[in-house]
Structures are given as structure tokens and as C-alpha cells.
Amino acid sequence: MNTEHKDYSVVLVGPAGMGIQTVEQALVKILKSAGYHIFATKEYMSRVRGGMNSTSLRVGSVPVSAPVERIDLLLALAPGGVSHVSERISPTTIILGEKEQFEQEIPAGIRTIDISFEQIASAIGNKLYSNTVAVGLLGAVFHVEGATLEDFVQKRFAGKEQKIVEENKKAIRAGFEQGLRLVQSGLLDIRLQPDSRVKNQIVMEGIEAVGFGALAGGCNFIGAYPMSPSTGLLTFLAKHGKRFGVVVEQAEDEIAAINMALGAWYAGARGIASTSGGGFALMTEGFSLAGMLESPLVIHLAQRPGPATGLPTRTEQADLDLALYAGHGEFPRAILAPGNLQQAFELTRHAFDLADQFQVPVFVLTDQYLADTYYNTEPFDLSDVRVNHHFVETQEGYLRFALTESGLSPRGIPGLGRGLVAVDSDEHDEFGRITEDLNLRTKMVEKRRSKEKFLIEQAIAPMVRPAPKKEHLVICWGSTLPIVQEALEVLGREDVGLVHFPQVFPLHPSTAAILAPARTRICLEGNAGGQFARLLKAYADVEITHRILKYNGAAFTVEEVVRRLKEILK
């Protein structure tokens, strides 16, 4: 194996229900504690048992935060495992698995190390321990101490039957010994330099970073109906919510969820409705209500491929148009699309302030790829976490929809002050009572629309890695950021710049000025229609010269982006 690597790509494949994700979680923690940079992303089928799932890990001496096609080490835990990732196997790949099981699958000339995880596990007591054996083996291969591994098992299985703890310890030891054997015999020679910075970093999944941002943003209500890939947020807030005083309610449907969130904001809480595209399709009615009530609202929309039920466990960036045009009638909204864990935290937090301050709905637009991806990163900056409520204590004669010069009416809440807070889904007067006064209607439309200017003023600027003027720009938004960043490093061309949009709507006023001077403007996004490219044309009058689109349900990989850029930038 090539010892020049700054990082190794390790892939585990096995059927659903076998615990591939447990291995992923274990390795992420163990390898991080050993001082390696770690990245993990999974792909899985929409089924509880069977099928074939994989998890891809990168273990690095330098930060790693994007998926690669390359597989250095493939652990196939069941038949079918090798074929499942056959397109990613190259002559540098080493396959670990039971040779007999994979005979038909392994391409000629690929190095294979014969290890039966299942046999080792069965000898200990149960073939289900194959996972633990694999963790032990990889631990040894990456030079983690045996004691560290056993400690991990002790902690991981604390509270379980003693027998289970003991057998898992045996399994990890057995795997560890196998690994040592491979290292000592020279079959696997992996040398990575641990990085002392890693120790003080955090490691979490994208969806947890969103959850963290929600807590830091003062979120204290979530209404959600479980739907992949958004469910992790509901789970996160359910797990930690009670300690932080969050009302967590699993709604009967998405319609209830968004109306609950609106009710929560009305009464002074900070609510989030979390869902995926199909669920948000149901929420659009309530979304429009937010517009009419001028209610703050935060929506977490975790994209997956559609239309309809689409590919439930895969990824896409194709709900931008849905978020942009959702709801009938005309009213402003903001759409934030985090590109990495730091942004997932910052932008979710920001969404609550933005919604509260300007009484508008704000999207946090993520996707399956971001939600299910782990890596280590600097701890989030909590130094300025403080919730600034924008509601007011009302006086007698309070008007919820007072016509003011700015268009913003002070927002009161019931139970605070001597005013009455009245909101209505019909067109209403300044108090909030139904009206059919057409002059007032005109004023109210203008009042609602006028808040757009605040959102533009507050828009987050795109992140620009400059290229010399009039050269090439790669434009991307949301979760593709780290992938494009690494691809550009690999590409190594000075004349190619990067522009990433963490806020996709409304656009920052500098957008046209940043993009216009470039000779080529390549927009990369995970959909078939080039939705963001259209948005740039419609709202910034910027023409995109080239598009890199992907819509098969998988995230972009670094190599793929490099290849496709090379095709364009010949």
C-alpha cells in the first residue's frame, strides 16, 4: 500500500441491519481520539434489513471533509459487498474479506487479504460480532492501542449484560490481533502522522450541527413528522430537549407540524418545523400562512431526491425551487444553505434571529449528504450565544399589523403587556381583523413585501476564493463546498476561483459584481435543472456559461469534480 498518502480511504460494506453504521460511529470516535482527522459518510438503502449499505471513511494526517471515489482498504463483511462498490475499486485497492465468499466479485489483479470476520465472530459466540472484529482490525492497522479499543467497548456497551460486554471485548481483541498480524507481516503498512490539534476538536454529523445551531439559536419548540433525511434533528432535540426546555412533538403529519411551529412563535417560543421535500410539499399551506401572519418561522428542509417519494435515503439539491416558490401569494423569505458543519451551526442559529427580527419564514436547506456526514472540526464558537427576542411588551390599543414607515410592526405576544395580539389568515387591518378594504389590501401587500429589503441588507455574502479577474469561477451552494474546495486543490490551477453561497436567497448585493468579470462561470449543483443557475440569472442577471450537474442520488466526489472541471477547462 502506498505510504505517501496524507489520508486513507477505508470503505466498509455490508447488509442493512448488520451494524455498518455502528462500526462507522465507533471508528470515528476511536480514530479521532488517536489524533487522526476523520471523515465519514454513508450511503444506505431505504430498508431496515438486507440490501447493501456502505460507509466511507477517510483517515488523515490532514483535515479531510469530502468524499472520494478512491478506496484504499475495502472491508467486505458479506457476499455482494465487493460488487456493491465495484466502480470504485482500482489496482491500489486492498480488499479484506473471506476470499471464498467473494471469488466471483473480485476483479482480476486486485490484492485481497483473506480474513473471515464472520468466522472469527462466530468462534467468539455470535456472527453479529463481525462488526466489532472489523473495528479491532482497523484499530490495529491505524496503530491505535489495544487498551484504547477495549476501553471504548467498555464505554460503548456500558449498561448491557456483562456477557455482551465481555464477548465484544474478545471480538475487538481478536480483530486487533488480526490487524497486528497484517501490520507485522508487512501486508498493510499504513503510516499517518497524528495531529495534536484534533484532540480539542469536535466530531459530529451534519444533522447534529444543525441541532446545535437550533439550541444556540434559542429554539424551544419542534414540530416534525419523521422523514429521512430530516429525522436526525427531531431525534437530536428529543434527546437533549428536556434539559434545554424544548417542547418536542412528533406531529400527526407535516401540516400539523408547521401549524404547531406557527402557534409556538405566536405565543413567544422559537419554533422549527423540520422535514424533507415531500413533507414540505404538505407544509406549503402553513408556509403561506407564515407570510400572511408575518410570523417568524424556521424550516429545516433536508433535501432528498424527488419527485414524490423519490429516493428516500439518497441526496440531491433539487428542492431549491420548492423553497423559493413555496406558498401562494407574495411575501419574502430567506433561504440559508450550509456548506459545512460550522455553517450548519452558524446558519441554523442565524435563521432564528433573522426570522425573529424581520417576522419572516427562514429556511435552513440541507440535504442527506450533509445530514449524514461526520468529520472533525473546531468547536463551535459559543462566545456570543445570547437570544435577543424581538417581541415587545404591548400597550393598550396595540396593533399587531401597524403600518409603519419601515414596514415592520412591533410583534407582541399574548400574556406580555396590556395589548391584544390578533392574527388572521384573511387579509386584515392593522389590528388583525378581517377586511375587504382594497386600499388597505394594497398597503398590506406592500408592507409584507417591503421586508425583503431587510433580508437583502442582512444577506450573507458569498465566500470567494479569488481567481485573477476574467478567468474561471466555480460557483456552488450548500453542501458541495468542501468537495469543490478539495477538488480545486487537486486541480491546482491558479486561474480557477471558487464562489460558494451559504445564503441562496435573497442574494447578497455583491453577487453580480463578483461573478460578472469571470470569463467562464461554472455552476455546480446536485440537480438536473440547474436551479441555482436559473436563480442567479433571475435575481442577479448573471449568465452561467457551464453547468456541472449530478442527480443520480449520490453526492459529488472529489475526483468526479476534478474530471468534470478538466473537461470544461481544457
Binding site: 446545535f212 439550541l215 434545554f244 405565543a267 405576544i413
Partner: protein, 290 residues
């Protein structure tokens, strides 16, 4: 006891037809709330869409007049994030049982501390006279010209089947008894359903004041703690009897949502008075280093 006038909003252009049962419900509810000494500043009325759903506009109190069928999820959340408020979710039979049927069912399961008042006139008034979920079989309308063929929705039987903690039916022609039932429902901790029979004088020429008078009777010698008995009273009409009125069912042992969820166990303040606990957040972040 407050003067019921505290709930009068002043002169308004009311959108109801003269003689509409909604006027009666409006007055009775104002009286009931005054007798319970509920400060309008602590009262939130939540409604959906329809003629009945306009009632909050004719009330001096906080209100959230949301979408068709969606009053209950909003009402649930309002009560969950500020338990100091008296929350009344109020709308018509089409809104609560038709468009909002799913929410009706699941709000009962949640048992939030809200009162759910349903104006039941067995017709769609705002859209000019189509059948509602509670229209009786054979009821003729422009959309059901040969008469309704569907079984009417029985809100009481459904609520009792779901073990709702308070279930009552009344008729607006009996103002005093309706007021007393409303008072009991509002005082009840947890979800309380009050289905109020009322005539639509314009679009329902069958279920008139006279019809309700003749087709209903008050429950006597009924033990509302007996769920089986309550259920059998709730289905009397479908078995050929009249519609009983009164409190059908009370389950005093049900735990209201806020108590079950434990949100106010250690901190009784409504959520808007709380802020992020930075120490806890730091602690949680720290756990992600390991």
C-alpha cells in the same frame, strides 16, 4: 366575576346571518368566561376557516385565526409554550371534523389543556350549503342532490373511543345549560370537547331550532365517569334514538400534555421568559470532543 362586556370588542360589522346560532354561542361564551373571571389578556381564541371560525373577530381577546382545519395544532402549541394562557380552539363542524379530522383525533391523544368548541350545524354555511361531515343521511344539497349517502361523523363516539378527557354535547337553544357546560369544559385540565348543536338558518332548512328541540333530550342519571355507558349514549341516535345532550364523559385520571412532557416540572415560566442555558450548551459541545 367579570362583566361580560370586557369581551365585547366594540361596534363591528358581523358577517353572520340574522338568527344564526353563532350569535348565541358568542354570547354564551362571553358569559361563561366572565363568570370564570378569565382576563381577556390571558385568553387566546384559535380558529380555522368558516363562519364559526370568525367568532374570535367578534371577541375582545387574543386570537389566532389560522387555516381551514388547522386550529388544533396551533392551539396545542400555544398552550404547550405558555401554560398560563386559557386556550380555546373554536370552529365549525366542517373545519374541525372534516378538513381537520386528523388533527381532531391526534389532539385528543395529546390531551393539551385546551377547550375545543365545535359549532355543529350539519352544513357548510360559508360555501353556501353543501353537506358537512355531520350532515344526516338523506340531507339534500346542490352537491348531494339525491341526499347525503355517507354515514354522519359522530364526534362524541370518536372522542370517547379515543378516551378524550372531557366530552360534551349541547344545543344553543338551551343557553343557560350550554354556559354551565362550557364553564366546566374550560375549567377542566386537559382536552375538553364541547360539540354545540346550532341551526344554520340560511342553508339548513332541515335541522332547524324546532328540529333540534324535538330531536334532542338531556342526559339524566348518567355517570360521566363510565366510559362504556358514555359510548352507548353517544351512539343512541344511530340506533334510532334521539341525540342526548349533556356531559357524556370525563376521565379525571388523564395527565395533561404539559405535565406529561415535563416541560414545567422544574421551571414553571412560559418559554418566552427563558433563555439558552450557555453552561449546558458548553457541556454538550464538550461531549463531542470525546
Amino acid at each position: 366575576m367579570l362583566d361580560e362586556k370586557v369581551f365585547y370588542p366594540g361596534k363591528l360589522d358581523i358577517a353572520w346571518c340574522p338568527g344564526c346560532g353563532n350569535y348565541g354561542i358568542l354570547r354564551v361564551l362571553q358569559k361563561a368566561l366572565a363568570e370564570l373571571d378569565i382576563d381577556p389578556h390571558n385568553l387566546v381564541m384559535v380558529s380555522g376557516i368558516g363562519q364559526a371560525a370568525k367568532l374570535p373577530h367578534y371577541f375582545n381577546c387574543h386570537y389566532f385565526n389560522g387555516l381551514h382545519g388547522r386550529a388544533l395544532p396551533a392551539a396545542f402549541a400555544i398552550s404547550a409554550v405558555n401554560p398560563n394562557l386559557t386556550v380555546i380552539a373554536e370552529s365549525g363542524d366542517g373545519d374541525m371534523y372534516g378538513e381537520g379530522g386528523n388533527h381532531f383525533m391526534h389532539t385528543i391523544r395529546r390531551n393539551p389543556n385546551i377547550t375545543n368548541i365545535v359549532h355543529n350545524n350539519m352544513v357548510y354555511g360559508l360555501t353556501k350549503g353543501q353537506a358537512s361531515p355531520t350532515s344526516r343521511r338523506g340531507f339534500k344539497t346542490p352537491v348531494q342532490p339525491a341526499g347525503v349517502i355517507n354515514e354522519p361523523f359522530n364526534p362524541l363516539a370518536v372522542a370517547i373511543a379515543l378516551d378524550a378527557s372531557f366530552v360534551a354535547r349541547t344545543f344553543i337553544g338551551e343557553a343557560e345549560r350550554t354556559k354551565e357546560i362550557l364553564k366546566q369544559a374550560i375549567r377542566h385540565p386537559g382536552y375538553a370537547l364541547v360539540d354545540i348543536l346550532q341551526p344554520c338558518v340560511t342553508f339548513n332548512k332541515v335541522n332547524t331550532y324546532q328540529w333540534f328541540k324535538e330531536s334532542t333530550y338531556w342526559l339524566e342519571d348518567h355517570n360521566p365517569l363510565d366510559r362504556r355507558a358514555a359510548f352507548s349514549r353517544a351512539i343512541e341516535e344511530s340506533e334510532g334514538g334521539k341525540l342526548p345532550l349533556g356531559i357524556f364523559y370525563i376521565n379525571p385520571n388523564k395527565v395533561p400534555y404539559n405535565q406529561a412532557a415535563g416541560i414545567y416540572e422544574t421551571d414553571t415560566r412560559p418559554l418566552f421568559q427563558r433563555s439558552v442555558d450557555l453552561e449546558k450548551l458548553r457541556g454538550l459541545l464538550q461531549s463531542y470532543k470525546e
